[in-house]
Symmetry: C2
Subunit: 433 residues, 2 copies
Amino acid sequence: MRVSQIRIPVDGLPTQWFNIVPALPEPLPRPKDPDEGPSRLGQLQRIFLSSMLEQESSQQPLIAIPEEVRELLVQAGRPRPLYRAYRLEQRLGVGRGVRLYYKREDLSPTGSHKVNTALAQVYFASKEGKKRVITETGAGQWGSALAYAAGLLGLECTVYWVRHAMEMKPQRLALMKLYGADVAASPSSRTECGRRLSSANHSHPGSLGIAISEAIEDTLRSEDAVYCLGSVLNHVLMHQTIIGLEAMKQFELVDDYPTLMIACLGGGSNFGGFTLPFIAEQLKGKNETRFLAAQSEAAPNLIKGEYRYDFGDYAEHTPLMKMFTLGHKAEMHPIYADGLRYHAAAPLISLLRSLRVVEATAFPMGEREVFEAARLFTQAEGFLPAPESAYAVKAAVDEARRLKRDGGEAAIAFNISGHGFLDLDSYEKVLFQ
Amino acid sequence: MRVSQIRIPVDGLPTQWFNIVPALPEPLPRPKDPDEGPSRLGQLQRIFLSSMLEQESSQQPLIAIPEEVRELLVQAGRPRPLYRAYRLEQRLGVGRGVRLYYKREDLSPTGSHKVNTALAQVYFASKEGKKRVITETGAGQWGSALAYAAGLLGLECTVYWVRHAMEMKPQRLALMKLYGADVAASPSSRTECGRRLSSANHSHPGSLGIAISEAIEDTLRSEDAVYCLGSVLNHVLMHQTIIGLEAMKQFELVDDYPTLMIACLGGGSNFGGFTLPFIAEQLKGKNETRFLAAQSEAAPNLIKGEYRYDFGDYAEHTPLMKMFTLGHKAEMHPIYADGLRYHAAAPLISLLRSLRVVEATAFPMGEREVFEAARLFTQAEGFLPAPESAYAVKAAVDEARRLKRDGGEAAIAFNISGHGFLDLDSYEKVLFQ
């Protein structure tokens, strides 16, 4: 029997997160305050959990996953399978030397990898005595994941959701409400910042910068609340390494090893989570794997960005971080894969890019060819990827076709970071209209 | 560590389907032709696969699952986990003696248990040299599952979809098209029957009866096509026993055994798939488990139906089958859990009901209390059930609350037959408007 599904047992779930920071060949540039204005670093201390700030700057290579968090990850369905894509290989007609694999984060309860860090963050919030978690969301994947985690742990959850994005996604809004979250269209009437903008314009479309401002204002005035972030930061990427650590065990089971790893990249938590454990092995000289980030031409931060200090957000609330950035005020064309629209890549990924460990490719904003690759994958393998994940599929399919033409061996591993059940309108528009 | 997820390894996937027919205490009444009109039994021979007709009347207690079908079931993610619902138990505040378990068919690629039989049927179609599978669909779950299976195996798939249902579900339509299916709004211009109706009224809303007529007409005139059905028939229920067979192994792993099994029931394939292997043990005197079907008051066939010969469809295309039926021309109130709106229960389940092995309960058509139970489940366990599955959740929650009040021990197992990501509009309407 040809077994496409590669599983590790439940008790094979990793017991430690992987922290690449101490293994880096040069120190990770630290965040800093801008020359003018209030101290952003000082504000971080007030709005984040102390345990998260500790993880953020930890020099420990492995950090124990608390037993309660492991229970939550198992509840969320982990470990998730790795698949050998026999059926896709067959459709592509690649030779025996080309092996395709994909990891199934689409099996997440909310539909994306974001739950991996949401569960950890809400657990630590609860442990530090917080009663409420606060965040902002753009595409909505992060807001759903935090709402889910808060629901499970019985904490309150407030999500400031960019109004125009929220109005386009009534189903995802219903999902957040089902989990019990309190969702505010941003700008809202709950904060000074929001009231100022919405009193001038009741149907103000909002922006991620405004939503961040509202979330931070709400956190600062609430004793028992904490602010949570779903990407970019070291500790978020570290929580996501559960993906790559599982994949490593799964490759051992089938006695193979990826020669090329592909994940889509907006801010970098999905890409980092999948690749960092393998990148660390490369830094020790143990592999020659290529690590390829799949991006959109709407936000090709690793390709067209400059490696310099920049704010993480439009409204300049965050400290300055050294990142490949298109500029924190950059205007980015709307695309269906909204999760890939971020102006900069996480500091960790950016450093690795500057060291030429990480490669990147970007696909056109029309998205037709990306959605076509997703259609091929869906018919061959049966699973519907999120539009973001479709970028990884496209990059993998391109590489497989190149190898078919030019010859060569490869084990290509890509990550299906989420499912597309809440994105079928986008598929309809791109492929069938 | 408290492990909520109970898994069997991939190579623990059952190797045989379970056929309860030879174990029944009295013979299953055979389908028969009505006194008047053409022979429906004769027509079955022309539109169904011979291997399916053979399975339909088999007296073998166990039927080997072909290796290729087992590969497909593994590709689709099987075996699926059974969960101990620790978090739901905690929210309900039940005592230590009350244990809740649920099986996760919501992990299906298309979102429901229907893929289990779709993969088998399309495999056998391919083996018998067919190039195309044809069906009709109402709610759309069966159409998606058949489209998915045909996509994987490279067969063509034609779905006649009741027009008014299709128009309400653009996302599910996009999903079927992504799998490569050819979807016709019924009545269509492709068949004589359809043309007759749609020429008189271009926006004819259609009905399941009309869609069946179209699918059968299309099959009869096509040499290399076959007609497929997603519920009611013996072989369909048998393909679904993979659910119960897996659950049986999973209960062995945790050294427990269900004292009450609950599944929602429309035609009966989900209920039968989950319970039949356990019901067979009861027929051998090995357990005293209760088997409870969760229904809607819109279609309480096991409760208000009569046990008699009736047609399986409005248009009288099928042979007469002995079933608990509300009458094949019964009008049923629309509900969001559309998959539960069927006038009769499968002959197998109906016989077991007449023998008092199967119990049934029905919930009000307003569906509010059912959706409330689903909300509780979603917040406690993190998974969003399909509206149909929410009926099983509701029945399980009611029973747990009763035990909390009255005392007593129980191991309650229920089946989450599908996910609700394509039903969030229904959740919004029932809970938030």
